[in-house]
């Protein structure tokens, strides 16, 4: 038996027909004949085939819609312009809703760009933005005042019972037995205790002296939910953030050397005259 002989065609069932319907043009002649034979004998599949052909006709006859007024630009130019920020702008409602996020720097760049474009054409929203900016600047400029000297006294008095009933009872006691001073020392003691307790809780929450931490072994126990780090390397060289620990020193090296004997060099304490020092030393 010739293994390459495809043999007699196997009749298709409806399921196989539906599977082959969308690539029927690519079927081998024998398979296509089987496909057509099933279509001729099955009304449901015939209807499906007609539907497929109508759909294909529609797709083939589709033309891109007119691009409309693009200021004479090509479509690709419009896309490029969009990528560079010349895109659609936000509505007034969107701008108003997003303004605080914009000023806070919490918006995605493309959303921020939409709103910035809206500002260019909407004076009302610009005015609203200026108001928000002003409010924000006033708020940021606010500085907590130092409490007056009598603040602690007033605060302690404030901590006394405030209900009318309590006040009346206090007044009654005052009237009957003379004024009874609030034990300020006791109140101060309570305040101090609360403060110390808060501080100890804060220290336990990841705040701890690192000098001790530097000497801890790599597998130190957990402290307040954070793991102590292994020893940190350091050198006695200049310490500054911004790549200061770069082991090659590539981010700390001094700027190109000033000319020896120059005013700039002299102010830095370099020799005002003399031979140039060799680079690298």
């Amino acid at each position: 038996m010739n293994p390459h002989d495809p043999g007699f065609p196997v009749p298709l069932d409806c399921h196989a027909f539906r599977q082959q319907a969308h690539f029927r043009h690519e079927l081998a002649p024998r398979a296509r004949a089987t496909f057509d034979e099933h279509a001729a004998g099955c009304a449901a599949c015939t209807e499906l085939l007609l539907e497929c052909e109508r759909l294909e006709d529609l797709l083939l006859s589709w033309q891109p819609a007119p691009l409309g007024d693009r200021d004479g630009r090509e479509f690709s130019a419009g896309v490029l312009a969009g990528l560079h920020g010349d895109g659609p702008s936000a509505s007034c409602a969107e701008t108003t809703a997003s303004l605080h996020h914009l000023q806070g720097g919490d918006l995605e760049p493309w959303l921020a760009a939409r709103i910035e474009r809206h500002f260019e054409r909407c004076a009302e929203c610009r005015e609203h933005r200026d108001e928000v900016l002003h409010t924000r600047s006033v708020w940021l400029a606010w500085k907590a005042p130092d409490p007056s000297e009598s603040f602690a006294d007033r605060l302690i008095r404030r901590l006394e019972p405030e209900t009318r009933h309590a006040r009346r009872r206090r007044q009654l006691i005052d009237w009957a037995f003379g004024p009874v001073h609030v034990p300020r020392a006791a109140a101060a003691l309570v305040l101090t205790s609360i403060t110390l307790l808060s501080l100890s809780l804060l220290q336990g929450n990841g705040r701890h002296p690192a000098v001790a931490g530097l000497d801890l072994p790599a597998e130190a126990p957990l402290v307040g939910g954070t793991t102590e780090r292994p020893a940190i390397p350091w050198s006695t060289a200049t310490f500054t953030p911004g790549g200061g620990s770069d082991p090659t020193g590539s981010l700390l090296e001094p700027l190109p050397a000033e000319e020896p004997g120059s005013f700039r060099a002299a102010r830095r304490g370099r020799p005002a005259t003399g031979a140039q020092r060799p680079a690298g030393d």
């Binding site: 990841g206 953030p241 911004g242 090659t248 981010l251 700027l255 050397a257 120059s262």
Partner: protein, 501 residues
């Protein structure tokens, strides 16, 4: 009965109004914090007069009179000087070594914050150097910070100013836009910006001063040489001897858009200025848009003012915006698009345009060209030993260099704690010699550390001058696979070649 009535009236008496009329927790009427504003004509004239008097006194070598214009807490870190006397002494020596000297200082711009004035000035120096009779003509741009003391102005500090980057500042809009680095920030009040030259291979640096509170805020952008997690890099950069970490690196929740990675940390340390110790605190935020290029911002203030001013660094960081980076494109690739000179690796060959040196990347090494000028860097990771790295550094002609032996010591010092698996270093010995590189003998230096577990680590660096450039190849071991690392170093040295013009 009267007693009972009195009791009833007393009980019904209204509460005294004195305590409740105003809540004691209400804030007192406050004064607005000072903001930066342009100086007036009168203020500018006063500063110009002071600086002109300084020039006259310096030329006349009247050090005592000149010192009267300085504040007692004068300090200029850029000039490495902590007293006016030391600075004026240096100027005296400069005047002595020149003749026909002319010194003129001109105020370019004045910004006022509270009772402080920040003057951008240019100093013009002309004269003849006595040593070689050479005519000198020099312009120095800097920023002077002055403070009103009664009716007088006193100089508090001088700062270097990179005038070539002045164009990046929009002072009216209080924005700093760096087009070629594709980012911009808004400058928080009341900080006064001073553009700076980035040190070494760093990409950018900006200094912001709050002269009223004596606070410095800095922003730096760089491509780290070693690929380390951002939080570890932050802590390593921040910590110093005798310092106390107040806040371990913690995720910074208010990172700006397009920065998926951001950490914040705080530190306290003691600084001694003019023999007077003072406690300083630092809050640093490290963030990266692509897990590689690092934006570092930090604020330094005295411990007593720190809490009131540390929000400035958060405000600066939150205003960071990337510009002209196509969506989905990593930031560092966007930077290479904008700065084609940083495209140093093509077709497996490292080829920096600023130096006539090529390196054919050997097999078994993964190459990452790092962005930056002044020091051109290439990071090579050993594929079979990913913890070990070889760094190639090329100093183009005219750039200041650091001696290889000094660099090796510094590297070992910085990394020695990580040298051995158990986290502590052991006995070490220094090695030196020569190796054949680029057709000539290069200096070879090494430091070998014997770990407690008996394994060894060997740092090596080879340096050579060729074609006007200085080339350093440094091996930083991360494991005990010494033979593998040495073979990789040899392959890199063999792959170096001089590029024909």
């Amino acid at each position: 009965m009267d007693w009972i009535l009195a009791l009833v009236f007393a009980a019904l008496a209204p509460a005294p109004a004195r305590d409740l009329a105003r809540c004691p927790l209400d804030p007192e009427p406050h004064q607005a914090a000072p903001v930066a504003r342009p100086g007036t004509v009168d203020e500018t004239a006063a500063v110009a007069a002071l600086l002109e008097r300084q020039d006259r006194l310096v030329l006349a070598r009247q050090r005592e009179l000149a010192a009267a214009d300085f504040a007692p807490d004068f300090r200029a870190r850029d000039l490495d000087v902590e007293s006016p006397a030391a600075l004026l002494e240096r100027l005296d020596r400069f005047v002595d070594s020149h003749r026909d000297l002319a010194l003129a200082t001109e105020v370019v711009r004045l910004t006022c914050v509270g009772d402080c004035l920040v003057a951008d000035v240019v100093r013009k120096i002309n004269g003849i150097r006595r040593a070689d009779e050479a005519a000198i003509r020099e312009e120095v741009h800097e920023t002077a910070v002055l403070r009103r003391s009664g009716e007088q102005l006193r100089i508090r500090s001088f700062h270097d100013r990179a005038v070539e980057f002045d164009g990046r500042l929009d002072r009216a809009a209080r924005r700093y836009e760096v087009g070629d680095l594709c980012f911009g920030v808004k400058l928080p009040q009341p900080f006064v910006p001073i553009p700076r030259r980035a040190p070494g291979a760093a990409l950018d640096r900006l200094l912001l001063l709050d002269p009223v509170n004596d606070v410095e805020l800095e922003l730096m952008v760089f491509d780290p040489t070693i690929d380390a997690p951002l939080d570890e890099a932050l802590l390593s950069d921040l910590v110093r001897p005798g310092s106390t970490v107040l806040l371990e690196p913690t995720r910074f929740e208010k990172a700006p858009p397009a920065f998926p990675q951001a950490f914040v940390a705080e530190l306290e340390y003691e600084e001694t200025v003019a023999a007077a110790p003072r406690q300083l605190r630092e809050r640093a935020i490290y963030l990266s848009p692509d897990r590689r290029i690092t934006f570092a911002a930090w604020i330094t203030a005295s411990a007593d003012r720190f809490d009131a001013v540390k929000g400035g660094v958060d405000e600066l960081v939150r205003s960071l915006r990337l510009t002209d980076i196509k969506p989905g494109r990593p930031y560092h690739e966007g930077l290479i698009d904008a700065n084609p000179r940083w495209r140093t690796l093509t077709d497996g060959i490292f080829r920096p345009a600023a130096a006539p040196i090529d390196l054919v990347i050997p097999a078994g090494l993964a190459a990452t060209p790092l962005l930056g000028d002044h020091v051109i860097r290439l990071r090579l990771s050993l594929i079979e030993d990913l913890r070990s790295t070889i760094v190639v550094r090329v100093f183009p002609q005219g750039e200041k260099r650091v001696a290889a032996s000094k660099l090796l010591e510094s590297s070992v010092q910085r990394m020695t704690e990580f040298a051995c698996a158990e986290g502590v270093g052991g006995d070490s010995r220094r090695l030196s010699g020569v190796r054949q590189v680029l057709g000539q003998h290069g200096d070879w230096n090494g430091v070998e550390i014997l770990c407690a577990d008996g394994t060894r680590r060997t740092w090596q660096i080879v340096a050579v001058d060729r074609g006007g450039a200085h080339v350093q190849v440094q091996l930083m071991p991360g494991s005990a696979k010494i033979e593998l690392q040495s073979a990789a170093l040899t392959k890199v040295l063999d792959g170096l070649r001089i590029r024909e013009p």
